[in-house]
């Protein structure tokens, strides 16, 4: 019964890989059957002709900046909020965390205009910073909740030893935060790697496209080459697959923690 239910979920992936490995001429004759001849030319064509190799590099740059910065500023920010409870700091924290609930389509256009005024569109590093800003509100929430659950004595002991806040952050808080940092990093990676909207709006220069926007736009060109686009989809999905295999647990935990508020 359940096996039957999983078939519709497996078949599209089988179809995808089969199509990506099928010569284009054969696909146009017959898009259904298993490929008679396996070819990697679709991958080669996607990687070089459609410039997905470059797009992959762009995505790696923006997404890794995004994840690293999001982790760094969420941990330091959350530590400050834990150290300085109070009415002001509470409303400040709630305001920052509440931005998680604002959907990206609400602010993407004004954000684009603001960046474009400053000449900061089509810039992979700025894109990384945007991704960091986008995911750090959730990061702040996750790390803050995590730190709140840590006994105060740990930090107080460090204070008595004469460690200043920055030292406490580096030598005590950061090592403690490892599990939540892993969760946050996986979540931020999945969210930003999958992003289409911010990518198509903020980077419009074809030379600088990120991977998923570049792949999605392949379909838009008037020459439709389905096997090549299928190969592109496989390429764009591969890093997600790796992260999924390594971080499935962190991911599930992160989604549950992120959603459950």
């Amino acid at each position: 019964m359940l096996l039957l239910l999983t078939l519709p979920f497996l078949y599209p992936f089988v179809f995808l890989i089969n199509t990506a490995l099928k010569p284009r001429s054969e696909f146009e004759r017959d898009s259904v059957s298993l490929s008679t001849k396996l070819t990697f030319e679709n991958f080669a064509s996607a990687w070089t002709d459609a410039d997905l190799g470059a797009a992959m590099l762009h995505s790696v740059i923006s997404v890794s900046i995004g994840v690293l910065v999001a982790v760094a500023i969420s941990v330091t920010g959350a530590f400050w909020f834990v150290r300085r409870p109070g009415r002001w700091s509470t409303s400040w924290r709630v305001l920052l965390i509440a931005t998680t609930a604002i959907p990206l389509p609400v602010y993407i256009i004004p954000l684009f205009l603001q960046l474009s005024d400053a000449g900061l569109t089509d810039n992979l590093y700025v894109m990384g910073a945007i991704y960091a800003g986008w995911t750090s509100s959730l990061g702040l929430y996750l790390v803050y909740t995590f730190l709140k659950a840590i006994p105060d004595e740990l930090l107080e002991a460090a204070q008595l030893d004469g460690a200043n806040p920055w030292q406490q952050l580096a030598y005590i808080v950061l090592p403690l935060c490892k599990p939540i940092v892993a969760t946050l990093a996986v979540l931020a990676f999945v969210a930003t790697w999958s992003d289409l909207l911010a990518g198509v709006v903020l980077i419009q220069d074809p030379e600088k496209r990120l991977l998923i926007p570049a792949t999605a736009l392949l379909n838009d060109l008037h020459v439709s080459n389905v096997p090549r686009t299928a190969a592109a989809v496989v390429i764009a999905m591969a890093p997600m697959f790796v992260v999924f295999l390594v971080g499935q647990r962190s991911l599930a935990r992160g989604i549950l923690a992120g959603i459950g508020k």
């Binding site: 909020f81 602010y107 200043n164």
Partner: protein, 309 residues
């Protein structure tokens, strides 16, 4: 004399440590500054800009003039917006499906099958794959000359072949089914987690007391997972209004005509294709209001349940 220097030294030391405390508090602000500045620039200021500009006639680069509610009036009066709203409400009809499917699958997994983890992983991978890529994948299969129609023809069911994404009556139900596929994984993860939290001892003692499957389901399992079901429903309703963009981008481009245009797609097209930035701003604000309303309802229903419990 000796006493005096001792006093000044103490005074100096306390003054110095006070100063150090102040500078340390100031330097600590650098811990919270980056996250504040980034969120302000990426989210808060643009949201403010959208709200402000939705009440103006706005040509970026040429300034804006206050026109009150005119943008909103114009939007509500347009035929296109009526169509768009009805699209949104038809998509909402998918919500029971997107809740029911994963709920049923989670029950099956919970009742005990071999390798539940493997099944969960398959659904979960499908559910965490980038929507844009899944959309592309489905666009190959559902195209008029695509694989689904060809398969139907080969099975001798050619009469059933259809323009799944180009027929204006079919396009929304098809999108609902694609979304059922895409939301399954997350739903199963959520519901499975909720089901493992059901009190096992209570279930066992109920069974010993002779409670049947349906009674256990109705009096123990369902009440215990109800908050999760409500939460998932709220998230799905929000998705219908704010998360359809990648699907429309890859599957239909909003067509045929406006048959699959949603609010989040329309504001993108208005801004970047037609340069109607003030219109897009007003649509963003509507989106924000809708999201806030849905979350408010979800929050209040959770509060109401707590107060009754």
């Amino acid at each position: 004399m000796h006493q005096l220097t001792e006093n000044t030294r103490v005074a100096r030391r306390t003054a110095f440590s006070g100063l150090r405390r102040v500078t340390s508090a100031a330097s600590e602000l650098f811990m919270v500054l980056p996250v504040t500045v980034l969120i302000a620039f990426v989210v808060l200021i643009p949201v403010g800009s959208a709200i402000w500009h939705s009440f103006t006639e706005w040509t970026p680069g040429y300034g804006s003039t206050w026109i009150g509610l005119d943008n909103y009036r114009e939007i509500f009066a347009s035929d296109q917006f009526q169509q768009l709203l009805s699209n949104q409400f038809i998509l909402l009809l998918g919500v029971p499906l997107w809740v029911g499917f994963p709920l049923a699958v989670s029950f099956l997994l919970y009742e005990g099958v071999p390798l539940p983890g493997a099944f969960r992983a398959i659904f979960f991978f499908a559910g965490t794959s980038p929507p844009a890529l899944i959309g592309l994948l489905f666009s190959f299969m559902l195209a008029t000359n695509g694989t689904l129609n060809e398969t139907l023809r080969r099975l001798g069911l050619g009469a059933l072949a259809n323009g799944w994404l180009t027929n204006e009556n079919l396009v929304k139900p098809v999108i609902i089914l694609v979304l059922a596929w895409a939301t399954m994984g997350m739903g199963v993860v959520l519901f499975s987690a909720a089901l493992t939290a059901v009190d096992g001892e209570l279930l066992e003692s109920a069974e010993l007391d002779g409670a049947g499957w349906w009674q256990r389901m109705r009096h123990i399992i369902l009440p215990s997972i109800r908050p999760t079901v409500e939460l998932w429903t709220v998230l799905l309703v929000i998705m219908v209004f704010t998360g359809i963009f990648p699907w429309i981008f890859t599957l239909t481009g909003g067509g045929p005509g406006y048959a699959s245009t949603t609010l989040d797609w329309d504001l993108y097209v208005n801004a970047l294709t037609y340069g109607n930035f003030d219109f897009a701003a007003a649509e963003s604000v509507l989106l924000l209001a809708i999201a806030a309303f849905i979350m408010g309802v979800g929050w209040m229903s959770a509060k109401y349940r707590e107060s009754r419990a």
